[in-house]
Subunit: 193 residues, 3 copies
């Protein structure tokens, strides 16, 4: 199976919007601070490359998921609930950034488990969630070392980035997988041939 | 279909209790402050007219919903979950009132979407949710202009009231609609004739 | 019905881990402070007897539940969601300990209702939840009087312990009951004879 161009574009758009809103929240709450974005234009304080990266990652995970094996069908409403769940968790990391980071990390991990139980789509969605939980924080560590941004001093305990990035990216990977599966199995869709 | 007097009274009572608890939380957290309630008696710092208004609005939305078209059956437990969900969101707006208001508003919007996906009862419940999301904040703006109360200075960005009132009232409207539908379709009920 | 030794051990282990993580969060956020643990070894600031007590209570409630009557079958995933839900609520009481305690208590009560609607397993699980909601806070009051620990001054409104312990222990009792029922009714299990 493969996703149609329209579905890939939808995933890209969803990822861009959630990246924009979530990153703005991190900046607005001083959870993160951009230092040198290399002259790239910013929207609401968030550099374009971050927003685009989240969009591309969302589409990529969705496409990989549907290539790996069949998905169970789902509704767009389920997909909407998945998006709202992950964005809510993302925003919570901003709202709780002043609190005890070990407590927040354990709390976000509990929410990520609830998301995985609700939205997982076979073992592959968990594998992709785990991959996102590894690659996402590493990509942020690399950008931090390159001087692009920094986390507030109380939330930089994982090689200078926030430890709760791990469960946050995991939830993101699981839901992006599920979105791919939902789009690929829609009855009205011309995809999946 | 129409609701029985007993069901209308139940909705009125649920609305009054949630209005009382939620408004008390807003006062206790200094999210809102009453200035001049015109001599009306208050309970837990909340004037009687506010509590009664929420009760009447709950019953009214439930009644309008069941007149607009058939509902899918549901259990009282589902209704209880809907009530707990909206009251929890209401209380979160109090608990988070010191945080970045744009972030809180986006977060409450995510929770409202989750409530709508879980508890919506046909398109009419979404229409009534949207109506509540417009009428509720306007009613608060009018009362603010009349000098009845004020929001804290960091959460008055929507014409002097809180922007997260919009998703909060939306969730309230959707769940009040659902409660009407559940009460109207109960098998043991003499309603619906 | 009775639980196997393996299931009892699993419940004990789950309770120990959640007690350890949750209690550490209470200590890390200064929600509670240990004063005199009588020389008992501590892990992450939490005395061994507390961790073991939560483990024993979890196994005990699960065992009592399955002896009281038949359970509906469930999956380990459902059990995992129950554990994550209760631990998330536990951690929220730590994260929100600086906020208005009446508001937090009402909020935790709403979440406990959502947990009960989702995970209850017959009336007995609610009875056991109610028993935990009474016995748990009393046990904490007794320990407080014995000089073992104290709650922060803003969250000691229930005879010197936190009022939100009541809905928190209720949710714990409901989910521990459900875990017992899930383990007792697993098809692959040799239990239930």
């Amino acid at each position: 199976m493969r996703l149609s161009a329209k579905s890939l574009l939808a995933l890209f758009g969803v990822g861009c919007i959630c990246g924009l809103v979530g990153d703005h929240a991190h900046v607005a709450t001083s959870t993160t601070r951009y230092l040198d974005v290399g002259g790239v234009p910013t929207i609401w304080g968030s550099p374009l490359f971050f927003i685009v990266t989240v969009g591309v990652a969302t589409a990529l995970i969705g496409e990989i998921r549907v290539r790996l094996g069949p998905s169970r069908p789902g509704t767009l409403e389920e997909g909407l609930a998945g998006i709202a769940s992950v964005l809510a968790i993302y925003l919570l990391t901003a709202l709780l950034s002043d609190e005890s980071t070990s407590t927040v990390t354990a709390f976000i991990a509990c929410l990520a488990i609830l998301v995985a139980v609700r939205f997982r789509d076979g073992r592959w969605s968990l594998v992709l969630g785990a991959a996102a939980a590894v690659i996402g924080p590493i990509a942020e560590i690399v950008q931090h070392r390159a001087g692009v941004f920094e986390y507030a001093s109380n939330v930089d305990g994982l090689a200078d980035v926030a430890p709760w990035l791990v469960p946050l990216y995991f939830a993101f990977g699981v839901v992006a997988s599920r979105l791919g599966g939902i789009l690929a199995t829609r009855p009205s869709s011309a995809e999946g041939e």
